[in-house]
Symmetry: D2
Subunit: 104 residues, 4 copies
Amino acid sequence: MDIKSIQKQLADFANERDWDQFHNPKNLAMALSVEASELVEIFQWLTPKQAESIMSTDENEHVKEEMADIMIYLIRMADKLNIDLERAVTDKIVKNGKKYPAKS
Amino acid sequence: MDIKSIQKQLADFANERDWDQFHNPKNLAMALSVEASELVEIFQWLTPKQAESIMSTDENEHVKEEMADIMIYLIRMADKLNIDLERAVTDKIVKNGKKYPAKS
Amino acid sequence: MDIKSIQKQLADFANERDWDQFHNPKNLAMALSVEASELVEIFQWLTPKQAESIMSTDENEHVKEEMADIMIYLIRMADKLNIDLERAVTDKIVKNGKKYPAKS
Amino acid sequence: MDIKSIQKQLADFANERDWDQFHNPKNLAMALSVEASELVEIFQWLTPKQAESIMSTDENEHVKEEMADIMIYLIRMADKLNIDLERAVTDKIVKNGKKYPAKS
Protein backbone atom coordinates (compact mmCIF):
# COMPACT_ATOMS: atom_id res chain seq x y z
CA MET A 1 0.00 0.00 0.00
CA ASP A 2 1.39 3.37 -0.98
CA ILE A 3 0.73 5.33 2.21
CA LYS A 4 2.41 8.53 0.98
CA SER A 5 0.24 8.67 -2.11
CA ILE A 6 -2.94 8.12 -0.08
CA GLN A 7 -1.84 10.82 2.37
CA LYS A 8 -1.44 13.23 -0.55
CA GLN A 9 -4.96 12.39 -1.78
CA LEU A 10 -6.46 12.82 1.68
CA ALA A 11 -4.67 16.14 2.25
CA ASP A 12 -5.95 17.44 -1.10
CA PHE A 13 -9.43 16.15 -0.30
CA ALA A 14 -9.47 18.00 3.03
CA ASN A 15 -8.06 21.19 1.56
CA GLU A 16 -10.59 21.33 -1.24
CA ARG A 17 -13.38 21.19 1.36
CA ASP A 18 -11.84 23.51 3.99
CA TRP A 19 -11.76 20.55 6.38
CA ASP A 20 -8.17 20.96 7.43
CA GLN A 21 -9.23 23.21 10.30
CA PHE A 22 -11.10 20.27 11.89
CA HIS A 23 -8.30 17.75 11.46
CA ASN A 24 -6.34 18.20 14.67
CA PRO A 25 -5.18 14.92 16.20
CA LYS A 26 -7.76 15.03 18.98
CA ASN A 27 -10.65 15.23 16.53
CA LEU A 28 -9.09 12.64 14.21
CA ALA A 29 -8.66 10.18 17.10
CA MET A 30 -12.33 10.68 18.03
CA ALA A 31 -13.44 10.21 14.43
CA LEU A 32 -11.34 7.06 14.16
CA SER A 33 -12.91 5.62 17.31
CA VAL A 34 -16.39 6.44 16.04
CA GLU A 35 -15.65 4.51 12.82
CA ALA A 36 -14.29 1.61 14.87
CA SER A 37 -17.61 1.49 16.73
CA GLU A 38 -19.51 1.49 13.45
CA LEU A 39 -17.55 -1.64 12.58
CA VAL A 40 -18.32 -3.17 15.98
CA GLU A 41 -22.01 -2.37 15.51
CA ILE A 42 -22.19 -4.74 12.53
CA PHE A 43 -21.14 -7.63 14.75
CA GLN A 44 -22.70 -6.75 18.08
CA TRP A 45 -25.63 -9.17 18.16
CA LEU A 46 -24.02 -11.94 16.09
CA THR A 47 -22.64 -15.22 17.42
CA PRO A 48 -18.91 -15.77 16.76
CA LYS A 49 -19.95 -18.27 14.05
CA GLN A 50 -22.26 -15.80 12.33
CA ALA A 51 -19.50 -13.18 12.52
CA GLU A 52 -17.14 -15.49 10.68
CA SER A 53 -19.39 -15.71 7.67
CA ILE A 54 -20.19 -11.99 7.50
CA MET A 55 -18.61 -11.65 4.05
CA SER A 56 -21.21 -14.01 2.55
CA THR A 57 -24.00 -11.73 3.73
CA ASP A 58 -25.44 -8.42 2.53
CA GLU A 59 -23.21 -6.68 5.05
CA ASN A 60 -20.00 -7.40 3.12
CA GLU A 61 -19.73 -3.97 1.47
CA HIS A 62 -20.59 -2.32 4.77
CA VAL A 63 -17.72 -4.13 6.51
CA LYS A 64 -15.28 -3.06 3.80
CA GLU A 65 -16.39 0.55 4.02
CA GLU A 66 -16.08 0.78 7.79
CA MET A 67 -12.62 -0.77 7.66
CA ALA A 68 -11.65 1.69 4.92
CA ASP A 69 -12.90 4.60 7.05
CA ILE A 70 -10.74 3.48 9.97
CA MET A 71 -7.71 3.16 7.69
CA ILE A 72 -8.36 6.58 6.16
CA TYR A 73 -8.41 8.33 9.54
CA LEU A 74 -5.36 6.39 10.68
CA ILE A 75 -3.38 7.35 7.56
CA ARG A 76 -4.54 10.95 7.82
CA MET A 77 -3.58 11.17 11.47
CA ALA A 78 -0.15 9.66 10.79
CA ASP A 79 0.37 12.38 8.17
CA LYS A 80 -0.63 15.14 10.59
CA LEU A 81 1.68 13.76 13.31
CA ASN A 82 4.53 12.86 10.98
CA ILE A 83 4.47 9.21 12.01
CA ASP A 84 5.84 6.46 9.77
CA LEU A 85 2.98 3.97 10.11
CA GLU A 86 4.85 1.04 8.57
CA ARG A 87 7.75 1.47 10.93
CA ALA A 88 5.41 1.90 13.92
CA VAL A 89 3.75 -1.42 13.02
CA THR A 90 7.07 -3.24 12.58
CA ASP A 91 8.38 -1.88 15.89
CA LYS A 92 5.18 -2.88 17.69
CA ILE A 93 5.30 -6.45 16.37
CA VAL A 94 8.85 -6.79 17.72
CA LYS A 95 7.77 -5.35 21.08
CA ASN A 96 4.75 -7.69 21.25
CA GLY A 97 7.04 -10.63 20.51
CA LYS A 98 9.06 -9.82 23.62
CA LYS A 99 6.00 -9.15 25.77
CA TYR A 100 4.28 -12.40 24.77
CA PRO A 101 6.97 -15.04 24.14
CA ALA A 102 5.83 -17.86 21.84
CA LYS A 103 5.12 -21.25 23.37
CA SER A 104 7.97 -23.61 22.70
CA MET B 1 3.51 -0.83 3.17
CA ASP B 2 3.63 -4.51 2.38
CA ILE B 3 0.30 -5.62 3.83
CA LYS B 4 0.66 -9.25 2.70
CA SER B 5 3.97 -9.62 4.47
CA ILE B 6 2.62 -8.12 7.69
CA GLN B 7 -0.41 -10.41 7.47
CA LYS B 8 1.93 -13.40 7.22
CA GLN B 9 3.85 -12.21 10.30
CA LEU B 10 0.65 -11.65 12.29
CA ALA B 11 -0.77 -15.05 11.31
CA ASP B 12 2.46 -16.76 12.40
CA PHE B 13 2.46 -14.72 15.61
CA ALA B 14 -1.10 -15.82 16.45
CA ASN B 15 -0.45 -19.46 15.54
CA GLU B 16 2.65 -19.70 17.69
CA ARG B 17 0.59 -18.53 20.67
CA ASP B 18 -2.62 -20.50 19.98
CA TRP B 19 -4.43 -17.19 19.59
CA ASP B 20 -6.10 -17.99 16.31
CA GLN B 21 -9.11 -19.39 18.19
CA PHE B 22 -9.84 -15.90 19.58
CA HIS B 23 -9.43 -14.05 16.29
CA ASN B 24 -12.93 -14.19 14.89
CA PRO B 25 -14.04 -10.93 13.27
CA LYS B 26 -16.34 -10.00 16.15
CA ASN B 27 -13.52 -10.18 18.70
CA LEU B 28 -11.07 -8.44 16.36
CA ALA B 29 -13.51 -5.56 15.79
CA MET B 30 -13.90 -5.20 19.57
CA ALA B 31 -10.13 -5.28 20.11
CA LEU B 32 -9.65 -2.68 17.40
CA SER B 33 -12.21 -0.38 19.01
CA VAL B 34 -10.54 -0.80 22.40
CA GLU B 35 -7.20 0.26 20.88
CA ALA B 36 -8.91 3.23 19.22
CA SER B 37 -10.14 4.31 22.65
CA GLU B 38 -6.66 3.98 24.09
CA LEU B 39 -5.57 6.46 21.42
CA VAL B 40 -8.48 8.77 22.30
CA GLU B 41 -7.56 8.57 25.98
CA ILE B 42 -4.22 10.26 25.29
CA PHE B 43 -6.04 13.32 23.96
CA GLN B 44 -9.17 13.43 26.07
CA TRP B 45 -8.33 16.29 28.43
CA LEU B 46 -6.10 18.25 26.03
CA THR B 47 -7.05 21.41 24.19
CA PRO B 48 -6.90 21.16 20.37
CA LYS B 49 -3.68 23.20 20.53
CA GLN B 50 -2.06 20.87 23.05
CA ALA B 51 -3.15 17.91 20.95
CA GLU B 52 -1.33 19.33 17.95
CA SER B 53 2.01 19.33 19.72
CA ILE B 54 1.63 15.84 21.24
CA MET B 55 4.67 14.54 19.32
CA SER B 56 6.94 16.97 21.18
CA THR B 57 5.86 15.51 24.52
CA ASP B 58 6.67 12.33 26.44
CA GLU B 59 3.55 10.78 24.96
CA ASN B 60 5.03 10.49 21.45
CA GLU B 61 5.99 6.81 21.68
CA HIS B 62 2.63 6.06 23.26
CA VAL B 63 0.79 7.65 20.34
CA LYS B 64 2.82 5.63 17.84
CA GLU B 65 2.16 2.40 19.68
CA GLU B 66 -1.58 2.90 19.91
CA MET B 67 -1.75 3.75 16.21
CA ALA B 68 0.32 0.65 15.44
CA ASP B 69 -2.07 -1.50 17.51
CA ILE B 70 -5.05 -0.20 15.54
CA MET B 71 -3.27 -0.91 12.25
CA ILE B 72 -2.28 -4.39 13.39
CA TYR B 73 -5.86 -5.38 14.22
CA LEU B 74 -7.13 -3.81 11.01
CA ILE B 75 -4.59 -5.73 8.90
CA ARG B 76 -5.28 -8.96 10.79
CA MET B 77 -9.03 -8.56 10.36
CA ALA B 78 -8.66 -7.87 6.65
CA ASP B 79 -6.69 -11.11 6.37
CA LYS B 80 -9.36 -13.09 8.20
CA LEU B 81 -12.13 -11.61 6.03
CA ASN B 82 -10.17 -11.73 2.78
CA ILE B 83 -10.52 -8.00 2.22
CA ASP B 84 -8.09 -6.05 0.05
CA LEU B 85 -7.51 -3.08 2.35
CA GLU B 86 -5.79 -0.90 -0.24
CA ARG B 87 -8.63 -1.35 -2.68
CA ALA B 88 -11.22 -0.74 0.04
CA VAL B 89 -9.50 2.56 0.85
CA THR B 90 -9.29 3.64 -2.78
CA ASP B 91 -12.95 2.78 -3.37
CA LYS B 92 -13.99 4.68 -0.24
CA ILE B 93 -12.10 7.82 -1.26
CA VAL B 94 -13.92 7.80 -4.60
CA LYS B 95 -17.25 7.31 -2.84
CA ASN B 96 -16.52 10.12 -0.38
CA GLY B 97 -15.65 12.40 -3.30
CA LYS B 98 -19.15 11.88 -4.71
CA LYS B 99 -20.85 12.24 -1.32
CA TYR B 100 -19.03 15.47 -0.45
CA PRO B 101 -18.37 17.41 -3.67
CA ALA B 102 -15.47 19.86 -3.44
CA LYS B 103 -16.22 23.57 -3.24
CA SER B 104 -15.60 25.19 -6.58
CA MET C 1 -34.17 7.29 39.61
CA ASP C 2 -35.92 4.00 40.30
CA ILE C 3 -33.40 1.57 38.79
CA LYS C 4 -35.32 -1.55 39.78
CA SER C 5 -38.46 -0.37 38.06
CA ILE C 6 -36.55 0.51 34.88
CA GLN C 7 -34.85 -2.90 34.98
CA LYS C 8 -38.25 -4.56 35.15
CA GLN C 9 -39.45 -2.54 32.14
CA LEU C 10 -36.32 -3.38 30.14
CA ALA C 11 -36.52 -7.08 30.98
CA ASP C 12 -40.18 -7.16 29.87
CA PHE C 13 -39.27 -5.23 26.72
CA ALA C 14 -36.55 -7.75 25.82
CA ASN C 15 -38.74 -10.75 26.61
CA GLU C 16 -41.63 -9.53 24.49
CA ARG C 17 -39.25 -9.29 21.51
CA ASP C 18 -37.25 -12.49 22.11
CA TRP C 19 -34.16 -10.35 22.59
CA ASP C 20 -33.05 -11.91 25.83
CA GLN C 21 -30.92 -14.43 23.89
CA PHE C 22 -28.74 -11.54 22.62
CA HIS C 23 -28.32 -9.85 25.97
CA ASN C 24 -25.24 -11.56 27.33
CA PRO C 25 -22.82 -9.16 29.04
CA LYS C 26 -20.32 -9.25 26.18
CA ASN C 27 -22.92 -8.08 23.67
CA LEU C 28 -24.36 -5.53 26.07
CA ALA C 29 -20.92 -4.03 26.71
CA MET C 30 -20.38 -3.76 22.95
CA ALA C 31 -23.79 -2.16 22.44
CA LEU C 32 -23.10 0.30 25.26
CA SER C 33 -19.77 1.30 23.69
CA VAL C 34 -21.44 1.76 20.30
CA GLU C 35 -23.97 4.13 21.89
CA ALA C 36 -21.14 5.99 23.64
CA SER C 37 -19.54 6.54 20.23
CA GLU C 38 -22.80 7.82 18.82
CA LEU C 39 -22.70 10.43 21.57
CA VAL C 40 -19.06 11.26 20.75
CA GLU C 41 -19.97 11.60 17.07
CA ILE C 42 -22.21 14.57 17.84
CA PHE C 43 -19.24 16.47 19.28
CA GLN C 44 -16.34 15.26 17.14
CA TRP C 45 -15.82 18.28 14.89
CA LEU C 46 -16.98 20.94 17.36
CA THR C 47 -14.76 23.29 19.29
CA PRO C 48 -15.03 22.99 23.09
CA LYS C 49 -17.01 26.25 23.04
CA GLN C 50 -19.49 24.96 20.44
CA ALA C 51 -19.81 21.75 22.46
CA GLU C 52 -20.84 23.72 25.51
CA SER C 53 -23.82 25.25 23.76
CA ILE C 54 -25.00 22.01 22.13
CA MET C 55 -28.33 22.10 24.01
CA SER C 56 -29.29 25.37 22.26
CA THR C 57 -28.94 23.68 18.86
CA ASP C 58 -31.05 21.25 16.85
CA GLU C 59 -28.94 18.43 18.27
CA ASN C 60 -30.43 18.74 21.76
CA GLU C 61 -32.91 15.86 21.42
CA HIS C 62 -30.21 13.74 19.78
CA VAL C 63 -27.88 14.26 22.76
CA LYS C 64 -30.63 13.27 25.21
CA GLU C 65 -31.44 10.13 23.24
CA GLU C 66 -27.85 8.93 23.01
CA MET C 67 -27.36 9.51 26.73
CA ALA C 68 -30.57 7.60 27.40
CA ASP C 69 -29.37 4.70 25.24
CA ILE C 70 -26.14 4.48 27.23
CA MET C 71 -28.06 4.53 30.51
CA ILE C 72 -30.48 1.88 29.25
CA TYR C 73 -27.70 -0.55 28.36
CA LEU C 74 -25.90 0.18 31.62
CA ILE C 75 -29.03 -0.49 33.67
CA ARG C 76 -29.81 -3.62 31.67
CA MET C 77 -26.28 -4.96 32.07
CA ALA C 78 -26.34 -4.28 35.82
CA ASP C 79 -29.54 -6.33 36.01
CA LYS C 80 -28.01 -9.23 34.08
CA LEU C 81 -24.89 -9.19 36.29
CA ASN C 82 -26.72 -8.54 39.54
CA ILE C 83 -24.76 -5.37 40.21
CA ASP C 84 -26.10 -2.64 42.48
CA LEU C 85 -25.30 0.39 40.30
CA GLU C 86 -25.89 3.00 42.98
CA ARG C 87 -23.56 1.26 45.37
CA ALA C 88 -20.94 0.76 42.64
CA VAL C 89 -21.04 4.52 41.96
CA THR C 90 -20.78 5.44 45.63
CA ASP C 91 -17.87 3.04 46.16
CA LYS C 92 -16.06 4.39 43.09
CA ILE C 93 -16.39 8.01 44.22
CA VAL C 94 -14.79 7.07 47.56
CA LYS C 95 -12.00 5.21 45.74
CA ASN C 96 -11.40 8.15 43.38
CA GLY C 97 -11.19 10.48 46.36
CA LYS C 98 -8.29 8.43 47.73
CA LYS C 99 -6.58 8.12 44.35
CA TYR C 100 -6.81 11.83 43.60
CA PRO C 101 -6.55 13.74 46.90
CA ALA C 102 -8.07 17.23 46.77
CA LYS C 103 -5.75 20.22 46.70
CA SER C 104 -5.61 21.87 50.07
CA MET D 1 -30.67 6.38 42.82
CA ASP D 2 -30.46 9.98 43.92
CA ILE D 3 -28.98 11.56 40.78
CA LYS D 4 -29.09 15.12 42.14
CA SER D 5 -27.09 14.19 45.21
CA ILE D 6 -24.48 12.36 43.13
CA GLN D 7 -24.26 15.35 40.79
CA LYS D 8 -23.56 17.57 43.77
CA GLN D 9 -20.80 15.23 44.97
CA LEU D 10 -19.22 15.07 41.50
CA ALA D 11 -19.35 18.84 41.05
CA ASP D 12 -17.66 19.33 44.44
CA PHE D 13 -15.10 16.68 43.55
CA ALA D 14 -14.22 18.42 40.29
CA ASN D 15 -14.10 21.87 41.89
CA GLU D 16 -11.78 20.77 44.67
CA ARG D 17 -9.33 19.50 42.03
CA ASP D 18 -9.68 22.37 39.51
CA TRP D 19 -11.03 19.83 37.01
CA ASP D 20 -14.07 21.82 36.01
CA GLN D 21 -12.10 23.46 33.21
CA PHE D 22 -11.73 20.05 31.51
CA HIS D 23 -15.35 19.02 31.87
CA ASN D 24 -16.87 20.39 28.72
CA PRO D 25 -19.36 18.03 27.08
CA LYS D 26 -16.97 17.07 24.27
CA ASN D 27 -14.31 15.89 26.72
CA LEU D 28 -16.87 14.18 28.95
CA ALA D 29 -18.31 12.27 25.98
CA MET D 30 -14.80 11.13 25.04
CA ALA D 31 -14.02 10.08 28.60
CA LEU D 32 -17.30 8.19 28.81
CA SER D 33 -16.51 6.31 25.58
CA VAL D 34 -13.04 5.46 26.87
CA GLU D 35 -14.58 3.96 30.02
CA ALA D 36 -17.07 2.02 27.87
CA SER D 37 -14.12 0.52 25.99
CA GLU D 38 -12.44 -0.43 29.24
CA LEU D 39 -15.59 -2.39 30.04
CA VAL D 40 -15.54 -4.00 26.57
CA GLU D 41 -11.89 -4.93 27.05
CA ILE D 42 -12.78 -7.23 29.94
CA PHE D 43 -14.99 -9.28 27.64
CA GLN D 44 -13.18 -9.07 24.30
CA TRP D 45 -11.62 -12.53 24.13
CA LEU D 46 -14.31 -14.37 26.11
CA THR D 47 -16.97 -16.65 24.69
CA PRO D 48 -20.55 -15.53 25.35
CA LYS D 49 -20.74 -18.33 27.95
CA GLN D 50 -17.60 -17.19 29.75
CA ALA D 51 -18.92 -13.62 29.67
CA GLU D 52 -22.07 -14.71 31.47
CA SER D 53 -20.16 -16.01 34.46
CA ILE D 54 -17.82 -13.02 34.73
CA MET D 55 -19.11 -12.14 38.21
CA SER D 56 -17.83 -15.47 39.60
CA THR D 57 -14.29 -14.60 38.47
CA ASP D 58 -11.56 -12.31 39.76
CA GLU D 59 -12.78 -9.68 37.33
CA ASN D 60 -15.98 -8.99 39.27
CA GLU D 61 -14.73 -5.86 41.06
CA HIS D 62 -13.22 -4.62 37.79
CA VAL D 63 -16.57 -4.92 36.00
CA LYS D 64 -18.32 -2.99 38.78
CA GLU D 65 -15.72 -0.23 38.67
CA GLU D 66 -15.88 0.24 34.92
CA MET D 67 -19.66 0.37 35.03
CA ALA D 68 -19.45 2.91 37.84
CA ASP D 69 -17.05 5.05 35.80
CA ILE D 70 -19.47 5.09 32.87
CA MET D 71 -22.34 6.06 35.16
CA ILE D 72 -20.25 8.78 36.81
CA TYR D 73 -19.41 10.45 33.49
CA LEU D 74 -23.00 10.10 32.32
CA ILE D 75 -24.37 11.72 35.46
CA ARG D 76 -21.74 14.47 35.34
CA MET D 77 -22.46 15.20 31.68
CA ALA D 78 -26.22 15.32 32.34
CA ASP D 79 -25.52 17.91 35.06
CA LYS D 80 -23.38 20.03 32.72
CA LEU D 81 -26.04 19.89 29.98
CA ASN D 82 -29.01 20.26 32.31
CA ILE D 83 -30.55 17.00 31.15
CA ASP D 84 -33.02 15.06 33.30
CA LEU D 85 -31.55 11.57 32.86
CA GLU D 86 -34.52 9.71 34.30
CA ARG D 87 -36.92 11.46 32.00
CA ALA D 88 -34.60 10.91 29.00
CA VAL D 89 -34.59 7.18 29.78
CA THR D 90 -38.36 7.00 30.18
CA ASP D 91 -38.93 8.91 26.94
CA LYS D 92 -36.49 6.66 25.07
CA ILE D 93 -38.18 3.47 26.26
CA VAL D 94 -41.50 4.78 24.95
CA LYS D 95 -39.87 5.69 21.63
CA ASN D 96 -38.19 2.28 21.33
CA GLY D 97 -41.53 0.62 21.99
CA LYS D 98 -42.98 2.36 18.95
CA LYS D 99 -39.94 1.66 16.79
CA TYR D 100 -39.83 -2.04 17.67
CA PRO D 101 -43.40 -3.24 18.24
CA ALA D 102 -43.64 -6.35 20.44
CA LYS D 103 -44.49 -9.65 18.77
CA SER D 104 -48.08 -10.58 19.43
